[in-house]
């Protein structure tokens, strides 16, 4: 059975290929086709998971891919272990939910085949990434994931913003990929293998230590920073909202952003070789969590709020990983995948109903969209980390890991972030669902094909937490004995819960009770508000870098190429023509000049030869 794992990614790929080739001829069937492919993938993944639950061990299977002189043999191989099995399930499950949901959400779009082909390809890439047994293969799927995000974010290519956002996503993540690629090359150079299992062994054997280990780890982490939208490469994710909402759900929950976290987890042994690198990871994670959460507080676009929320939550995961909380990080990834998909689908449902993204244009939708508001509430509670929802357990695990590592500053940041998280998500919830309805935006409930996936996800978001311990234990087996188990603590969950309550209360006061005017707050802390609204001016800084620096530099180079490098060539040509015109003057047309030249030539020749001869004779 495990040997058949390759079928899991292949099914969506085949579906994508079929749909892409048939195109408009299967407009109606496209969604069904791809969804069923993913469904079968999910079934196989589940069987795999069950098998591994019974017998948790690391399985590999490989096929030769290319051989080159110089002792290089690359292979295509699969690595099936608890981590990948878990990820397979979550990826295929979330994908399935989203595809089913999309059947309804995209039912009017004439470009559905393309859409579903992309979605399916996305799923394939992510499944492949999860299964890859070596860094090169992983990088390949990693890039494919990036490609799919590009295609899907820019799905409505006629919208300039969408096209731009897709491009931005691809390029920004590619910036991180650069580090990833260099890291991979460096690993290949240092350890002479790309196989993940062998790498782990090599690292444990102490073949990679010190500064080199840190360099490698940080380069690899650069890839994760890009993909998982960590500071300072997080800027693409909010813009990625220009894609269709289910795509956002997919990107945020199960595929794109998860890839970075997954990669760090997958290569965790490498990272553990460098405590410095782990420290960097944890601080970047923590910083990202906090900054993104604050930015989420001032967004007006429902999807952007969720996007910043994702960035923030990914920061949590990184924070956990950086503090050694391997299982905590992955577990948070799982729960987050469920509830963030849920939140996005719900947001999509709302947008589908009211055709706007601005939360201030919504309001009171709780009355007309009961299911949606209910599942949103579930998602919000999970996100805020309220017992007994899944988020509570995973966030708890993260904070525990942080506390366990002894970094109090990060713990404080984590708790603060929890508070802010709770605030912004309820700000959203109250504004959209409880306030007076905005004029003409009454909304209606979405069809079953959309609500059913939401309900399923809500269910999982609610109950997943209860299996926190076994899942974490199961995941830990991927690392073998190395998994550090965080101890139990009563204080941390309590603190987190209190922080969540504070956030909730604050949001309640401001956006439900309206006891405190949001506008007043914005005016009082205008500098802070400006800072947050402008995303700490990070985007602007990038704009400046790219526009003013890179493009200007490229124009300077183009000028240089045209006028200096090519100018030299044209100069030579000009010189030749001028020489020709000049030499032409020698031919004055006068016989006497010709004869003079003849005689002069003879004279010069005679003098030169005789002088040369005597000079040669004079030599000793």
């Amino acid at each position: 059975m495990i040997a058949n794992a390759w079928i899991i990614p292949l099914l969506p790929l085949l579906a994508a290929a079929v749909v892409a080739l048939l195109g408009r001829r299967v407009t109606r069937l496209a969604g069904g086709l791809t969804a069923s492919a993913v469904f079968f993938s999910l079934v196989i993944s589940l069987k795999l998971l069950i098998l591994l639950l019974a017998n948790p061990r690391v399985n590999q299977m490989t096929w030769p891919w290319l051989q080159s002189a110089g002792q290089l043999a690359l292979e295509a191989g699969l690595l099936v272990d608890p981590l990948s099995a878990m990820m397979l399930v979550i990826v295929s499950f979330v994908s399935l939910m989203i595809q089913v949901y999309s059947l309804g959400y995209m039912s009017d779009d004439p470009d559905r085949p393309r859409y579903f082909a992309y979605l399916s390809l996305f799923t394939f890439s992510m499944l492949g990434l999860v299964l890859a047994n070596n860094l090169v293969l992983m990088y390949m799927f990693w890039e494919l994931v990036g490609l799919c995000s590009y295609l899907l974010i820019g799905f409505w290519y006629q919208k300039p913003e969408a096209a731009n956002a897709g491009k931005k996503a691809f390029i920004v993540t590619r910036f991180g990929d650069l580090g990833f690629l260099i890291g991979i090359l460096l690993i290949g150079h240092l350890l002479n293998t790309f196989n993940i299992a062998e790498l782990g062994q090599a690292v444990q054997a102490g073949k990679l230590t010190g500064g080199l280990a840190t360099t490698v780890a940080l380069l690899l982490f650069a890839g994760a920073v890009g993909k998982s939208a960590q500071f300072p490469l997080h800027i693409w994710l909010p813009d990625a909202m220009e894609g269709p909402t289910p795509v956002s759900a997919l990107i945020h929950a199960a595929t794109m952003v998860a890839a970075g976290v997954f990669m760090v987890a997958r290569l965790f042994p490498l990272f553990t070789a460098s405590p410095d690198a782990l420290t960097v990871i944890s601080y970047i994670g923590g910083g990202t969590a906090f900054l993104a959460a604050t930015m989420a507080c001032v967004q007006n676009d429902i999807k952007r709020i969720l996007a910043y929320s994702t960035v923030s939550q990914l920061g949590y995961m990184m924070l956990a990983l950086g503090c050694g909380g391997y299982t905590a990080g992955i577990f948070h990834l799982l729960t987050h995948g469920a509830f963030k998909a849920l939140l996005f689908l719900a947001a999509g449902s709302v947008i589908h109903a009211v055709h706007t993204n601005r939360i201030w244009d919504m309001g009171g939708l709780g009355r007309t969209m009961k299911i949606t508001s209910l599942v949103t509430l579930v998602g919000a509670l999970a996100l805020a980390g309220v017992f007994p929802f899944a988020g509570f357990f995973s966030k708890d695990a993260v904070l525990l890991a942080v506390a366990h590592s002894g970094r109090l500053d990060l713990l404080v940041i984590g708790l603060l972030t929890a508070l802010i998280t709770s605030f912004y998500i309820f700000r959203l919830f109250f504004t959209v669902f409880t306030q007076r309805p905005a004029a003409g935006k009454s909304g209606h409930e979405s069809p079953l094909v959309m609500t059913l996936p939401m309900l399923l996800l809500a269910l999982i978001s609610t109950v997943l937490g209860f299996w926190a311990e076994p899942i974490q234990q199961f995941l830990g087996q991927s690392l073998g004995a190395a998994a550090a188990e965080a101890g139990h603590d009563r204080l941390i969950p309590l603190l987190a819960f209190i922080a969540a309550c504070f956030g909730f209360g604050w949001a309640y006061l401001v956006y439900y009770q309206r006891a405190v005017s949001a506008a007043l707050l914005a005016r009082r802390f205008s500098w802070l508000y400006e800072l947050l609204v402008n995303q700490y001016y990070i985007d602007a800084a990038y704009q400046w870098l790219v526009r003013r620096l890179l493009f200007a530099f490229s124009r300077v180079l183009a000028w240089f190429d045209r006028n200096v490098v090519d100018g030299a060539v044209n100069g030579v040509a000009w010189l030749c023509r001028q020489t020709g015109s000049l030499l032409r003057l020698v031919q004055v047309g006068r016989l006497s000049a010709y004869l003079l030249a003849l005689v002069l030539g003879l004279l010069i020749m005679a003098v030169t030869v005789l002088l040369t001869q005597s000079a040669v004779l004079a030599l000793p």
Partner: protein, 474 residues
């Protein structure tokens, strides 16, 4: 009687001269006078057959029918035949008596044949004059055309001064060596390369040769004479005269003055460099195709003389092969020039605009000829250049080869300008029905085209016999 057998080709030409003269007197003055051209052609072909068929031989030790002579005579006679064909219909264009024209052409050819075979200074000198004087007269053959007369006069005076300087040099060498046979000269001059009088004599000879083969700075007559002369004459001048000049240089320098090879080698290397460079540069701004080809032939002389600079078997056989390759190439170009001149009355580059669209075959021939001149494969000029450069490189003249290959690239610039007019520019002045080509000219075009391709792809046809001939010589 058999002693005279090696002279059979020359006798055929002399007989042909008589026949032309006689027929010219007897025939009425109308178009039937084209029979004269037929006579000239027949004589040439007959001589060609004789040259090819006769075995090696010599006449009184002053005249040798050896391999080099055979090869060069074949070239000269081939050129002669092709030029006769090219000038076949020119009686209409020129409105000049043709009998004398054929006579002069044939006698020039005779002189060149003598240059190819002469083994002795006096014979060579007479051959040189016989090859030059009729050419001067042919250049000035249409004195009503100012250019023709002016070109002729310039050619004449420079030729006379050139041969005067050559003679002065020969007289000094004669005074030093006391011999007129090349073999005796060679022996007498061994070990005397440091004698100043010998050196002066040698340099005077080099000036005379330089004039004949158009080396800078003795080339100045070339553009004017080439442009002024009637085009078939230019064609003959550029091919046969050059060939004869080079074989003279070969006989004198590599034969008689072999002992002075260090001196003339050094001088010729510098002259070669100057010649190819100046020729190419000066060709760039030209707008008249005849003049452009004149400068191009100056540049070609610069390449050719490198064969002598190399001086070994490889170099001299390369020289001969290059001459062989140069013949169809340049004649093809001039044949097209003739066709256009007959059609439009102009040799300006502007007259060639759009030729490829009006007359694709003419355009193709001109393009291939020019590309062969530039040394582009798989044409004759390429293989010849490659062979030549290889030979020169082998003698250690790396700088000269570098210069020569750069010059080849540069020369492509102006050749391409012509090709641009022919292929890229839209037709302007050419008749929409295409350029009419009379059958003799068509024959020339075909033959030269075949020659260009054949010599390029199967260099062995000429190279082997050239090699054997040169080996025999050295």
């Amino acid at each position: 009687m058999t002693a005279w057998l090696p002279l059979l080709p020359e006798f055929i030409i002399v007989a042909c001269l008589g026949a032309v003269l006689l027929a010219d007197l007897l025939l009425p003055r109308d178009r039937s006078r084209r029979v004269l051209a037929g006579v000239a052609l027949a004589g040439t072909l007959l001589a060609l057959v004789a040259v090819a068929a006769l075995p090696d031989g010599s006449f009184g030790g002053v005249y040798a029918a050896d391999g080099v002579a055979r090869l060069v005579k074949i070239l000269v006679l081939a050129a002669l035949g092709l030029v006769v064909l090219s000038a076949w219909t020119w009686d209409q264009t020129w409105k000049r008596p043709m009998g004398e024209f054929w006579f002069l052409l044939l006698s020039a050819g005779l002189g060149m044949m003598v240059l190819a075979s002469g083994q002795e200074l006096i014979t060579l000198y007479i051959g040189l004059e016989l090859a030059t004087v009729p050419m001067v007269l042919l250049t000035a053959y249409c004195p009503a055309d100012r250019k023709s007369a002016e070109g002729g006069l310039k050619f004449l005076i420079l030729a006379a001064v050139g041969s005067g300087v050559l003679l002065f040099g020969l007289s000094l060498l004669y005074a030093a060596a006391g011999a007129t046979r090349l073999a005796d000269l060679a022996q007498a001059l061994v070990g005397r390369s440091l004698e100043p009088m010998v050196v002066i004599g040698l340099l005077c000879v080099l000036v005379g040769l330089g004039f004949k083969v158009a080396l800078v700075p003795f080339h100045l007559w070339v553009p004017d004479a080439y442009e002024g002369a009637p085009t078939p004459v230019t064609a003959f001048l550029s091919v046969a005269s050059k060939t004869a000049g080079f074989v003279l240089a070969l006989r004198l320098l590599a034969g008689a003055f072999a002992a002075l090879s260090r001196e003339w080698g050094m001088v010729l290397a510098v002259l070669a460099a100057a010649t190819m460079t100046l020729g190419n540069f000066a060709a760039i701004p030209q707008t008249n195709l005849k003049r452009l080809l004149a400068y191009s032939s100056v540049a070609q002389a610069g390449y050719l003389i490198m064969g002598l600079v190399a001086g070994d078997t490889l170099g001299l056989s390369a020289l001969l092969y290059y001459l062989a390759a140069y013949l169809p190439t340049n004649l093809a170009a001039f044949a097209v020039v003739i066709a256009i001149e007959q059609a439009s009355g102009s040799t300006d580059l502007a007259a060639y605009a759009g030729l490829a669209q009006r007359s694709p075959r003419l355009g193709l021939v001109l393009m291939l000829a020019l590309l062969s001149l530039a040394g582009i494969p798989p044409l004759a000029g390429f293989t010849a250049k490659f062979y030549l450069f290889t030979a020169v490189f082998g003698q250690g003249y790396v700088w000269l080869v570098v210069l020569a290959v750069l010059n080849s690239a540069l020369s492509l610039y102006y050749y391409l300008r012509v090709i641009r007019a022919v292929y890229i520019q839209p037709p302007e002045r050419l008749p929409a029905t295409g350029v009419a080509v009379a059958w003799p000219l068509a024959l020339v075009l075909t033959a030269t085209l075949i020659g260009i391709l054949l010599l390029g792809v199967f260099p062995g046809l000429v190279v082997e016999s050239a090699r054997q001939a040169v080996q025999h010589l050295l």
